[in-house]
Amino acid sequence: MQLTSSFKLVFLKQMLRGFLLSDASSNSMSFHERKNAIKLSADAAIAFARGRTRWSQGLITNLSKNEKNKEILKSLLGREYDNLRKPCGNSLKIPRSKKILRRCLRMCSRRKKAGRAQHICKSILAKALAKKRIQVLKKLVPGGESMDGFSLLDETLDYAMSLKAQVDVMRRLLKTSKASLNIK
């Protein structure tokens, strides 16, 4: 839905700007440094292109933890940096809702225990499985720890689409650069 070409263009532009800013194409960098620089640019660019979502904010926050990156990020993102850097303001809300959810779960399981014995195992097992996977997902999605069930799924969806766009653009970039090399 968001994988429009304009979105990809924005991303590309920002990424290239990031390359310039971080001086990724210089000879002096080692492999690692260059790689990190590119990664930084790419991530920042995709977060910028996407706008203000939870995962993009989380991403920028993670990237900013490294002091060296901060300046680059600032100059790259400009105004957006502050917006994106702002952590999601719902962190207080989450624990409370978790309590309620837990209470509901307990009630549910109690009710189920009273009623149908054979369903207990299934539901509890299913819940445990789902929980585990949700935890894994939380680690994957940047900024995912502070999200609850629904929004996590939302953000995952968003994030997955942006990743797809990122991969597309980068591959195309590679293709064109390779082609240009051939021409030369």
Binding site: F31, L101, M107, R133, L140, F150
Partner: protein
């Protein structure tokens, strides 16, 4: 012989139905006597005394060849100001005729879906008696129509709101009046509008044409239900049309529900077959019409029975839209709510519950396939508060906690649906855990792809044409290892991983690096294999050297051109963890 038998049976059925209807109807409906004949004029007189709602049955002439009676049932919908009526004609087993009686013009327009043609009979609508003499001609006309028709279809009687009355949307494919279709139907009311009139034909006309019955049509075990429905339809309190909410002919659904979901599904299919395109328009009209119902205008809007379908469809739409609205109030005014407003009468509550059952069933089927255990038992109770219209499903408590939980679950399932569409190859997967698994895999694979792209980009950006000494190779390999090490799935070693160990150590890293890359996509393997033997690794060490130099660009090319988003699945299935 056959005709006679059927006649007898049909008569018996008719008799039963007539009796039934007689028992239940409140004299609004005229029903056929055993002989099956009623003068239309009689009807009209009787009916005109009532508040404008007539059910008349008109019997066309007899077919001379066979003793079939063609009975066409009319439902005169209330009286609109402009005195146009829609007469719904149902024939068993087939197709509908809509007739619209335009009182102003004193024309009786018979629309058959078949070709949208109209026969116009210049008879004053109010007195149908003249029709009788015309009946043969009408019948003749119809029969002509029939002969032209090529197929039969379900009898659906549709009555439209006045706005639609003179125009029947030929949305339904069921048109043709088969010649054989003028089987007699006994009970009147039969206007379980839109419900397939599955009355056993009293006699089948001689049909020489091929009949195409919808597979689910013949002889629904619906007859009794149909009759009940018909009866209920006919039980309109005089003047209290606001109480008539034909929407989905929901009162009629209760008996049909008892027949089980199988029938319902059958009907649904049928309905879908016939009215899929129709739902939208009717639903919209419904909203409009229902608001007008309470006017005291005896305008009754009957929607086709796939109002069952449409109802649920619309409610689902409403629910979906509302569930996506995460307002604090959880305010959901579903379509049944809208239509419930003008509804009065105690019967409606049962109809609503049955409607809800159906809706809930549909909702469950559509939205929440995982929660089928919740829909077991008796009727649901629905929350009829002012603001919160979250509907409790069957067998569930309605306290706020469980409601909230249900909302939450529905949200989650909705999102899972979206994600299912996004993640390739997930359409068949149901169940939260497995879906989450797939999603996790997908996201991981995407992240890895990004990593690889970044790697290649970095190599591209390196101004120096990479002289791949082993240091870099090692670095590459280690990078990839690190990247993979964090992944959770470990499906074992791919065969390529084993090969490097067979090689001289100096080339080991190269191969490992290559193989590391290779694990990312099939194109790598292809690239390698194109440059060497199929295994890619069995080449002699001598050949490694020439391969060594161009591999960078070739591989990049291959990867750039070849890799596609469908690879994630492959990537996940291959080994992610490998050791040097």
């Amino acid at each position: 012989m056959r005709g006679q038998k059927k006649t007898r049976r049909g008569e018996k059925d008719k008799l039963e139905r007539a009796r039934f209807v007689r028992k239940h109807s409140r004299a609004k409906a005229a029903f056929l006597t055993e002989a099956g004949r009623l003068k239309v004029g009689e009807y009209l007189e009787r009916a005109s005394s009532l508040s404008g709602f007539w059910v008349g049955a008109l019997e066309w002439g007899k077919r001379s060849e066979v003793e079939d009676k063609v009975i066409i049932l009319f439902l005169f919908l209330g009286q609109s100001k402009d005195k146009s009526f829609t007469v719904a004609v149902s024939e068993d087993p087939l197709p509908r005729l809509e007739t619209s009686i335009d009182m102003n013009e004193n024309k009786f327009v018979l629309n058959s879906h078949h070709d949208g043609g109209e026969w116009q009979f210049n008879t004053p609508a109010m007195s149908m008696v003249p029709l009788l003499p015309n009946a043969p001609s009408l019948a003749g006309g119809l029969m002509n129509q029939i002969t032209r028709s090529s197929y039969l279809s379900t009898p659906m009687v549709e009555v439209f709101s006045p706005g639609q009355w003179n125009h029947h949307p030929t949305s339904s494919p069921n048109m043709a009046l088969g010649e054989s279709n003028f089987a007699s139907t006994s009970s009147i009311n039969s206007i379980p509008v839109g419900k397939p009139v599955a009355i056993s034909p009293r006699g089948m006309l001689v049909s020489t044409e091929p009949r195409i019955f919808p597979t689910s049509l013949p002889h629904f075990p619906v007859d009794s239900a149909f009759v009940e429905r018909a009866a209920r339809f006919s039980c309109f309190g005089s003047g209290n049309f606001s109480g008539i909410n034909f929407f989905g002919s929901s009162p009629a659904m209760a008996p049909s529900n008892n027949e089980g979901i199988g029938d319902q599904v059958q009907k649904d299919e049928l309905l879908q077959v016939d009215h899929e395109s129709f739902n939208g328009s009717t639903m919209k009209n419904q909203g409009d019409q229902n608001s007008q119902i309470g006017n005291g205008e005896s305008r009754v809007v009957i929607f086709p029975e796939d109002g069952l379908e449409g109802n649920t469809g619309s409610t689902d739409a409403a629910l979906n839209s509302s569930s996506s609205d995460r307002g604090v109030n959880k305010r959901r005014k579903t379509v049944p709510d809208i239509e419930r407003d003008p509804v009065q009468g105690g019967r409606q509550s049962s109809s609503e519950t049955t409607k809800e059952n159906i809706e809930n069933k549909q909702k469950v089927e559509q939205i929440n396939s995982k929660q089928t255990e919740k829909n077991g038992k008796d009727n649901s109770e629905f929350v009829k508060e002012g603001y919160v219209h979250v509907r409790a499903r069957r067998g569930q408590a309605t306290n706020s906690h469980s409601l909230a939980e249900r909302v939450r679950r529905e949200k989650i399932s909705e999102r899972m649906k979206y994600l299912q569409e996004l993640v390739p190859g997930c359409s068949k997967v149901t169940g939260k855990a497995v879906m989450l698994d797939e999603i996790i895999n997908y996201v991981q694979s995407l992240q890895r792809q990004v990593e690889v792209s970044i790697m290649f980009l970095s190599m591209k950006l390196a101004a120096v044409n990479p002289q791949l000494d082993f240091g870099i190779e090692g670095l590459l390999a280690k990078n990839l290892l690190r990247a993979h090490g964090s992944s959770s799935s470990a499906t074992g070693f791919s065969p390529e991983m084993i090969y490097p160990q067979a090689y001289p150590s100096q080339h080991n890293l190269v191969h490992t690096g290559i193989s590391a890359m290779a694990s990312h996509s099939d194109t790598f393997r292809r690239a390698i294999s194109t440059q060497s033997t199929a295994s890619g690794y069995k080449e002699s060490p001598l050949q490694v050297q020439p391969m060594h130099i161009p591999w960078n660009e070739e591989l990049i090319t291959q990867m750039a051109y070849g890799a596609n988003p469908s690879n994630p699945q492959n990537m996940d299935s291959k080994a992610d963890d490998f050791a040097i």
